[in-house]
């Protein structure tokens, strides 16, 4: 046995030394030429524009479908997509869209006409579809197909966000009427659109495949094929990217970002998002009903250090309810710079010189736990004892909707103020709705900005909203996340678009 034993020992040493020094092997399982293999932590649920639940599905939809208008490549402004041009009536209520000719649907479902546009939008408005986006299109009164290439949409009232907030977004994607009627329920995972990529296959919990659509009206994209793999752990996806098994991913974990930064073979595009993470205070609970207490807590927050260190720079400090990049944003609001002494002062003024105990209820997704841990330390410095209550999805929803919490933590991404102001700050949305702070002081302002068709007027109202919310401080915005698209160096064309931090692969080329 002696020689064998020494041999085993030697082998072990070789393995250990090799592990420590050898660079990761290249070439194994690499994506083919002009093929993108990406990774995403969650599984897909529904690719139907009427029902898209969230980000992984939205990624697919934005590559498979087209709308009347779409977001420009790197901004939240809109540009023509299926509509070559459009006219708005002087009273702001009638939109006339002139469609391109010869736009083809995938799968041989024929040409896209105004009938498909009418069908797609009415489908979402139809209560029987039970679409979650019905409310965002509810401003539409009628849709007429003037001729096969002209659509006239009449609104109930002028709407400032009709184009950017509704038509360019998920409910605005046009589907093939023939396909939906034929496929019925199967449309969920057999979407037929007119975008640059067509859907090929979906293996539940594993992968989804798209292929370039050669008859796309802007020409076939250079990327031939896109494969999304479901990888729950972002750090594992990071390793796969470095090794070359995948060549594209969205990075949200600060540590994965830090690791990938050091890799010379990985290119990165940072996208500031029009999203934000914040903590919301329940203004119906003592002592949070006192605005001085809320201001005190706001004064304990150290955004700069947090974003610089814990987030490794993947976020910029946020002070206003409307994030940078969104219409109406202003930084000219009450900021509550970090000042622990002032915090203590305010608490004493409010009658709590020795602090108090409150809880924070959250679901540990993305940054929530990092924020909760930091909050605990910050509050402690002002004498406030923060208890962390971490719940998983089911319990968290129940708790949130019952209003049983002092503070909650959440993160949102939206593209237009209309998409969240009502949901989060209007008194009609008290829990079980999304207005977790029970704040009701700006109802009239929210309603006013909805109908202000003049952009400048709307911006003015939005500024007023931001100032008021910052004064009343029912919630404290913390930072606007920066998502990073990481890809192998041979790819070009990844643009930083704040409208969505996902990739539209028609713009990606290989060198």
């Amino acid at each position: 046995m002696r020689p064998i034993r020494w041999g085993a020992l030697a082998l072990a040493c070789v393995v250990v030394v090799a592990a420590a020094t050898i660079q990761p092997a290249q070439g194994q399982g690499r994506p083919g030429p002009r093929v993108i293999v990406s990774a995403y932590p969650r599984d897909f649920r529904n690719l139907d524009p009427a029902h898209i639940p969230g980000s992984p599905d939205y990624q697919i939809a934005m590559n498979v479908f087209s709308g009347l208008v779409r977001y420009k490549r790197d901004s939240v402004d809109v540009e023509p997509d299926l509509a070559e041009r459009w006219r708005v009536s002087p009273n702001g209520r009638v939109y006339t869209f002139f469609l391109r000719r010869g736009v083809q649907f995938h799968g041989g479902y024929g040409e896209l006409t105004s009938q498909d546009v009418k069908y797609s939008l009415e489908r979402i408005l139809n209560p029987a579809t039970r679409s979650r986006y019905r409310a965002s299109l509810s401003i539409i009164e009628t849709i007429e197909t003037v001729d096969p290439y002209t659509v006239r949409i009449t609104l109930k009232a002028p709407s400032a966000s009709f184009l950017a907030g509704a038509l360019a977004f998920r409910p605005g994607y046009i589907v093939s009427q023939k396909a939906v009627e034929q496929l019925g329920d199967r449309f969920t995972f057999a979407p037929i659109g007119s975008g640059p990529f067509r859907f090929v296959s979906y293996t539940p919990r594993q992968e989804l495949v798209l292929e370039a659509f050669p008859r796309y009206f802007r020409g076939a994209p250079q990327v031939r094929r896109v494969v999304w793999k479901v990888v729950p752990e972002e750090s594992v996806a990071g390793l796969a990217l470095q090794k070359g098994e995948i060549n594209h991913m969205i990075v949200r974990d600060p540590q994965v970002y830090r690791q990938l930064q050091r890799d010379p073979n990985i290119g990165m595009t940072a996208t500031p998002t029009t999203g934000w993470w914040e903590f919301t205070m329940n203004t119906r609970r003592r002592p949070l009903d006192d605005v001085r207490v809320r201001r005190a807590l706001a004064h304990t927050v150290d955004r700069d250090t947090f974003t610089r260190t814990v987030l490794e720079g993947l976020g910029s400090p946020a002070y206003s309810v409307i994030p940078p990049g969104m219409i109406g944003h202003t930084d000219d609001v009450e900021k509550y710079p970090r000042n622990v002494q002032r915090a203590r002062q305010l608490l004493a003024e409010a009658g709590y010189p020795s602090g108090f105990r409150i809880n924070v209820v959250y679901e540990p997704s993305e940054y929530a736990e990092l924020i909760a841990t930091a909050l605990q330390q910050w509050f402690r410095e002002a004498g406030v004892d923060l208890q962390l209550v971490r719940l998983e999805a089911g319990a968290w929803t129940a708790r949130r909707q019952s209003g049983d919490y002092d503070i909650t933590i959440s993160g949102t991404t939206r593209f237009d103020p209309d998409q969240f102001l009502t949901e989060q700050f209007h008194s009609e949305s008290f829990p079980p709705g999304g207005n977790q702070s029970y704040y009701g002081a700006i109802d009239h302002l929210i309603e006013a900005q909805r109908t202000a068709i003049n952009a400048r007027e709307r911006a003015r109202i939005l500024v007023e909203i931001q100032k008021k919310v910052a004064l009343d401080v029912p919630f404290v915005p913390l930072f606007n996340p920066v998502y990073v698209t990481a890809y192998s160096k041979n790819q070009k064309g990844h643009a930083a678009n704040t409208a969505h931090w996902m990739t539209r692969f028609e713009f990606v080329t290989f060198e």
Partner: protein, 314 residues
């Protein structure tokens, strides 16, 4: 044969008990499945919620729900997933093969690493080889499996590049499946391997000291023959026992392993279902787990009779 029938009969109340326990636990967990199915957006009115609750069948009294469910299960109908509206049986059948593969691979690793290690240690007892093997075994036994798994990925998949970093491979492509199985099977099987190594060693040492073995050796039979024929037979029962007991562990370990290695499988399926309060899926998946564990235990018990003729079932 009577034993087999008896055991099978006994299994039924156990399975019923598991179904009941799963049913009770998931139904009293806070969280409304209707809300979780619909998600969060304007438009979720109480009427819509009530409608969905009725469609899902969760608005009826618990007792009624329970009886309905059990009678359906007896007919082979496991219901439809709240989340995807697909048949629970179909979804489980789609994911189960991966978990079965992983568990089998884990057992193979456990047996084919553990038994030889135990033999080496027993044959070379009290030498450095013995101590080294047993110490390594103890170390394996003592580390958290997800940590071990992540280390394996880092060293063997990333640094050395010998294996893929994640996934299960393409079903049907044996080479791909095997490559993707090595690291997860190692992570999950190493603990059992350590146990089996220790067990084999003890069992062998027991036997090697026995009179009849000494006699056989004195008569001149080669060491190897002695080992193989008598001693291993003795070790077979405890090894089988560990495999049986460990199946429950291995199946539970699939949950963590599937997450770490990004593999599809029943583990992730059932955990996601619990979070989503997908009652039929949770109940169905747990039942499948339980039935598998009980079946494996039954097989293990039956195999005792094969291995050791002294074992008799009344």
């Amino acid at each position: 044969m009577r034993y087999l029938v008896h055991r099978l009969l006994v299994t039924i109340p156990t399975v019923l008990g598991v179904i009941t326990l799963a049913f009770v636990l998931i139904h009293i967990a806070p969280g409304d499945p209707a809300e979780l199915v619909l998600g969060d957006y304007i438009g979720v009115t109480p009427e819509v919620l009530a409608e969905v609750r009725e469609r899902l069948g969760v608005d009826r009294p618990l007792g009624v729900q329970y009886v309905t469910y059990v009678s359906r299960v007896a007919r082979g109908d496991l219901g439809r997933s709240f989340r995807t509206n697909q048949l629970v049986l179909a979804e489980i059948a789609g994911q189960a093969p991966f978990t079965v593969l992983l568990t089998l691979a884990g057992v193979l690793v456990a047996v084919f690493v553990g038994v030889p290690a135990g033999i080496v240690a027993a044959v070379r007892r009290n030498t450095p080889a013995d101590y080294a093997t047993m110490t390594v075994a103890m170390v394996w036994l003592s580390s958290p499996s997800f940590w071990f798994g992540i280390l394996l990925i880092y060293v063997f998949a990333y640094r050395l590049g010998w294996f893929p970093v994640f996934g299960a491979g393409t079903w049907g492509d044996w080479r791909s499946l095997a490559l993707h199985l090595v690291l997860p099977a190692a992570a999950i099987g190493v603990r059992s391997a350590a146990l089996i190594a220790r067990m084999t060693r003890s069992a062998l040492l027991e036997v090697l000291g026995q009179d009849y073995v000494r006699t056989a050796r004195a008569k001149g039979l080669a060491d190897a023959a002695v080992l193989l024929r008598h001693a291993l037979r003795n070790a077979a029962i405890p090894v089988l026992t560990i495999v049986g007991l460990d199946i429950a562990y291995l199946l539970g370990g699939a949950v963590v392993t599937e997450t770490v290695f990004s593999r599809p499988g029943l583990g992730k399926l059932v955990v996601d279902a619990i979070y989503a309060r997908d009652y039929p899926m949770v109940q169905g998946a747990i039942m499948v787990f339980a039935v598998s564990i009980l079946l494996v235990n039954l097989l293990v018990d039956l195999s005792y009779a094969v291995v050791d003729p002294r074992v008799r079932y009344a």
